[in-house]
Symmetry: C2
């Protein structure tokens, strides 16, 4: 560990908060944590690489936010409460200003969801960020991909396709990810791509209502495909019901917007299935959380994801300069 690494770690360590269940935080060979009795751990790990998962000109704040957001989204999809995380940060140069702005974004979201950074590593190398996030959930209560049942409604939170729309605008030279966009619609889409909101509260509430859940990181068709494959069922989508934002329709038109909603990745909304008798409860939950929940189809016997005029359901390819 070089002197520069020490200094960077100190800048990050100084930003961490506290939790009563952390017996020993950053600074020893490992952190010591006291899990809650009778609960299971939910553990997930996701990496973002510059030039692969985000454009190289993405500001540090947004990189910090998104690095944690994609992992919190996985905990949300399990219905788990966030608790602790580690961060592996590879940086080409040790720039304090960049690290501070990165930390601003990372800890804004961490503090919001009471997840504590308990360890990690800063190394020299091409810009890459790996988080392992640990949550807790009562044993047997987690939302899994393999629990969808024939007759379930299929639901999604929020709106779909905004992040993919922002990426298309960027690819067309119509959106600068490095700066606040001039047009309101574009700025809304830019935020959705760079600062997604993990649906942590929703996921925990859904344990009472939903059978299966997944977060939409690879695109609705691909991720719903995971649910039906693991559950041994099929999905019948009503494509016209997909929730699409006015910003996305205004920016790209109805047809491209629908394609983004079906196949675009990086939404980090939740897709879940629930019995039909939960509809009233879910509408009430949507009101309480001020977050739209939309029925988009049904689980049926069979296999695969089906729907009128459904294009080929190939998975989402992450942002890439050389596809």
């Amino acid at each position: 560990m070089s002197l520069a690494e020490f200094l960077l770690i100190d800048r990050i360590r100084a930003r961490t908060g506290a939790r009563a269940d952390v017996a020993l935080g950053i600074g020893d060979d490992a952190a010591l944590l006291q899990p809650r009795a009778g609960e299971q751990l939910a553990v997930t790990a996701d990496t973002l690489n510059s030039g692969v998962h985000f454009p190289p000109e993405t500001p540090a704040f947004e990189i910090g936010w998104k690095t944690l957001a994609v992992n919190l989204s996985d905990l949300a999809a399990m219905g788990a409460r966030p608790a602790w995380c580690t961060l592996a940060l590879s940086l080409p140069t040790a720039e304090a200003a960049w690290v501070d702005a990165f930390a601003d974004g990372f800890f804004a979201l961490a503090d919001e969801h009471d997840i504590l950074l308990v360890g990690g590593d800063t190394t020299r190398g091409p810009l890459s960020l790996s988080v392992t996030a640990i949550g807790q959930v009562a044993a047997g209560q987690a939302l899994r991909r393999d629990a969808a049942q024939v007759g379930d409604d299929i639901w999604v939170s929020g709106t779909l396709g905004d992040a993919a729309g922002a990426l298309r605008l960027w690819q067309q030279g119509r959106l600068d990810v490095a700066a606040v966009a001039a047009a309101d619609d574009h700025e809304q889409l830019r935020q959705r791509l760079l600062c997604p909101l993990p649906r942590v509260k929703l996921g925990q509430r859904l344990r009472a209502y939903a059978h299966a859940a997944i977060d939409i990181s690879d695109g609705l068709l691909a991720d719903l495909g995971h649910i039906v494959a693991r559950s041994g069922v099929a999905a019948q989508l009503e494509v016209d019901t997909l929730p699409v934002s006015a910003a996305l329709r205004n920016a790209l038109g109805r047809e491209q917007a629908r394609d983004c909603a079906l196949r675009g990745g990086d939404d980090y909304e939740l897709c879940f299935t629930a019995a039909a008798d939960q509809r009233d409860a879910l509408h009430a939950l949507a009101n309480m959380l001020a977050l739209p929940l939309t029925r988009i189809g049904r689980i049926t016997a069979g296999q695969g994801v089906h729907g009128d005029n459904l294009p080929g359901a190939d998975g989402y390819q992450h942002f890439s300069p050389t596809p």
Copy 2:
């Protein structure tokens, strides 16, 4: 997630074993784990980057081994039992043969220490490997850096400086890290650099005898420096007692060997402190584990690391092509 990522993940997933405390392994948004009642979690994260932490020509097996070894070493230094880990693997190209050889090394060590891979991520990018390892230890029993006491003996396991010696030979063009070395001494040093043995069993046994412990990843002077700084004490080293292998002395001579032992990183031996009345017990433990344990000094009042003819105690700089 691209198709290539799916296939790589499947190759790795197929190699994972099982543990009774894993309710749900790789394949959902998060793994679900059942920690032992009354125990704490020890959580650590370490990253290796190609060209920074190992020469680019390092074989895949050795990269896989070392990626896990450096994290197991941190759990060992806490006295924790390994349980679960995640792996973030960034690869420039999706080569099945490379991934298989990497997995050979990674799982050889994982199976040896009964740590189960429960999640992770494969992404496209410059070769980089991040592991978060989770262990378990009875509450209040972990070995920490901040518990050294005045009057303690200072001990180290194994021999010191071998990894740094191999690195010097490589820098001098006298050792090919990509192939089994011709000379026995060189091969022994090459193994110590690329396939370090994390002292997992020793760490767990030391909970009964030691006050403070750390693993030597940044060099003895730097890491012992962490113990004394955190414990508010000083260390008096007897430099002549440092355990140095015959292979290292043969390859580099007595003076360079001593320098490697003092300042060389990547040893992954344990440095620990224990009361003087534990000497007999520690010698017996060394016999039982067939692992040398050597007294190298004493903890005293004051601050800093001292010793006869001690060179400047600057920290270890990781392998670097552009130092």
